[in-house]
Symmetry: C2
């Protein structure tokens, strides 16, 4: 029996490794267009900033490692062009350009996504970059070292991290976002204001509510300015952090059903075609709160999906559950996290909500080094937690995880008010900021009665 | 209407402040034997260590603050000697030694506990200290500054924190614990080993499995050595961190029912006597896992109980729920936390359990500054989480809180394996250490089937 995996990102390689963990005999072949495998794309901004010393650091394993230690064959720099699900074979061009076919018993489509680059003038100029592969990262770092200013387009987590990274390298940085706030997918505008202030304090110029209209080049075809709205801003380079579009072409060729947003899979990560699975940025999943299809383009999601697909292929039943799209990012000394639905998105879905907020500290008031932390909790009108956003100087990620667990298990406002939080002066306040925010909401619920 | 509160610790003052929050007219009087109120006893070891600059820092409010800002009267340095629950009055001696009585409509007993000092030879020598009040802390710090060596008795959280604090002051420190491990209430021995190694690396000598037999003094009546088992060790001072006994005398005089361990209260924090409430270290509460009475001598528990008592007195119905005794402590660069039942205690209660463990890092492998983190999860045989212990270099407290929430909401091993954790390289691994530990347990469950 042979499993062929298309794609060597977190989803593809986790699927391969998981199959191997539970099945020693399966032949496993991964085909990837990439040269480097098993690296963390989420880490690219932190190499740009210098917080991680080099790109070599973020490559965790080589294809040889997989061959020797896990008996997984990885065919690099090869492009799959077709899948024939009748014959159960994939067609690909290897690194020498030879066309080859490979039979499979199970196929895993882990083709990821491509950065969406808006169709504007100047998008092909020298000095315009996307942030997708490790090679993109290397090119950006090289180019940045001979530049003095940069425009980052898109204020999602990657946009913010790139803006910070380039700023830390000493560039004058402008961040452009079409939405009227930073992190529009993750935060409500009130929480985004805290982040915005921090970005400005770092010396990053932020332009909100306006699209990038065009990029202008010099006589050598290199970026020299961008036009945002009607105003032009000179800069040496442009980094597109404009979101990711799922790669669904091969799935289509294989006859897999495509959903509203990406490849459709069931909870076992099976596509509509027998023995073809799909995982990672190329699939759509279910939003836990709304029940609607959603994209969950996170490395951690891809890993969890890969584990589910791998177990099922190895004959161990496993299910991938609806997602909250919990996220966390660290920009300098600020951690930003969110999970579940935002207040804005709840209103857009015509859900009635009650919100609780708290501004507190990460340590006891008198303990040196405590940092401000802002917590926002979103409850449905029955008092069940459906969303949480936290911005603070430390200890945000695990609080987000606690609230994710709370949402998944149906925790109520009253339960969070009374919740038992561990306490010691160097690591927390005697009443946790989450309990304070819950109490704020609880007081509002009381007045509603 | 008048509420009298006996005791100015976290439980007493939180009750008073909570009543005031919801009732502007109640007369509120707090009677306390202490001179300083509204300080954090949990912070004492961190002042000893110098991590908090002075004892003044940990006093958050003065009696004047309460009078002016919350209209709460605090009578300091006064000792309540009797409660007459028929006449509804308390009898106390004020700071000048005058006997006085005060009528109440509601009484709150927040009398806390006393350090249990074993009845051994030498316990009254100069240089023997307990760690209860801020004055104890001040005396210890003074005495330590003219000492070169100390013995700390008891390896609970306070014992460890004191040992670390004195060591950081430059003393030679010996820690003595009767149990065969450090943190016997919080950790299993496998996890305690990690802490033990760290203490030894700090240069703290640890003697386990042996009681303190006696303390010997010099001709001036000052501590000069301790005898542990049969062996004597010279030292200049002894700090007793030997646990706390609830102060239940006044509750007894008031006719309140006393449980197996301390004052008995219902979920509203009411004692058996009408209109008498009790909160904090002097009450017993219910263990969430075993359903048995337990003590929960934490500042954070006292605050939560005070909020419940205060709301009920103010006419807003509130309930205090069974506890997990979640704890966290920070010793130098190590955070230690636990919640729910330990493997040992589960065995002692004849519960069959499955354990999952993981050793991982607090950041992505390649991200500089990541620290080791050890996670142990304890599941009942049906796969429901009932306990968690974590030791690591950072980000322990909130993970413990997440697992507390999980236990309270009945999270299963399978749910934790598939759990959605937020991820970014500077703050977490792509698979959270908790998910790794859950997967370890999950593999064991699979083999049981």
């Amino acid at each position: 029996m042979r499993t062929v995996v298309i794609g060597s990102g977190a989803g593809g390689l986790t699927t391969a490794s998981t199959i191997r963990k539970y099945n020693k005999n399966m032949e496993i072949v991964v085909i990837t267009k990439e040269k480097y495998v098993a690296y963390s794309p989420c880490a690219i901004p932190y190499v740009i900033s210098g917080e991680i010393p080099s790109f070599q650091h973020i490559v965790m394993h080589t294809p040889e490692y997989y061959r020797k230690n896990r008996n997984i064959e990885i065919i690099t720099e090869s492009i799959v062009v077709d899948v024939d699900s009748e014959k159960r074979e994939v067609v690909y061009y290897d690194r020498e350009g030879n066309k080859r076919t490979l039979k499979y018993d199970y196929l895993v489509i882990a083709t990821g996504g491509e950065t969406f680059i808006p169709p504007i003038e100047g998008r092909d100029l020298e000095g315009v970059f996307k942030v997708k592969t490790i090679e993109d990262g290397m090119k950006i770092k090289d180019y940045a070292q001979k530049s003095t200013s940069a425009t980052v387009v898109g204020a999602g987590a990657i946009g913010l991290e790139m803006a910070y990274g380039l700023r830390k390298l000493g560039l004058k940085v402008t961040l452009v976002e079409m939405a009227p706030q930073v992190l529009p997918r993750a935060l409500d505008i009130d929480m985004a204001e805290v982040v915005l202030k921090y970005l400005k304090d770092l010396g990053i110029e932020v332009i909100l509510g306006k699209p990038l209209s065009k990029i202008l080049g010099d006589k050598d075809g290199r970026v020299k300015e961008v036009v945002v709205g009607n105003k032009s801003h000179s800069c040496d380079m442009v980094v597109m952090a404009t979101g990711v579009r799922p790669n669904i072409e091969l799935a289509k060729r294989a006859g897999c059903e495509i959903g509203r947003l990406a490849i459709k899979v069931n909870s076992r990560m099976e596509t509509s075609v027998l023995n073809i699975y799909a995982v990672g940025d190329c699939v759509e999943t279910v939003d836990f709160i709304t029940g609607q299809p959603t994209l969950s383009p996170f490395g951690s999601t891809a890993v969890r999906q890969g584990k589910v697909a791998g177990k099922n292929i190895a004959g161990i039943s496993a299910e991938f559950k609806p997602v909250l799209n919990a996220m966390v990012s660290k920009i300098g000394d600020m951690e930003i996290g969110s999970t579940g639905i935002s207040e804005l998105r709840a209103h857009q879905s015509r859900m009635e909500v009650v919100v609780g907020k708290a501004k507190a500290l990460t340590r006891a008031r008198y303990y040196p080094g405590g940092k401000p932390i802002y917590v926002k909790l979103i409850f449905d009108i029955d008092g069940t937690l459906i969303g949480c956003q936290i911005v603070g100087g430390e200890r945000v990620a695990e609080r987000i995880d606690a609230m994710s667990l709370g949402i998944l298990k149906g925790v109520t406002c009253e339960e969070l008010v009374n919740m038992e939080f561990s306490y010691a002066p160097p690591v927390s306040m005697v009443v946790d900021p989450i309990a304070l925010a819950a109490e704020d909401a609880w007081d509002k619920f009381r007045k509603l009665k």
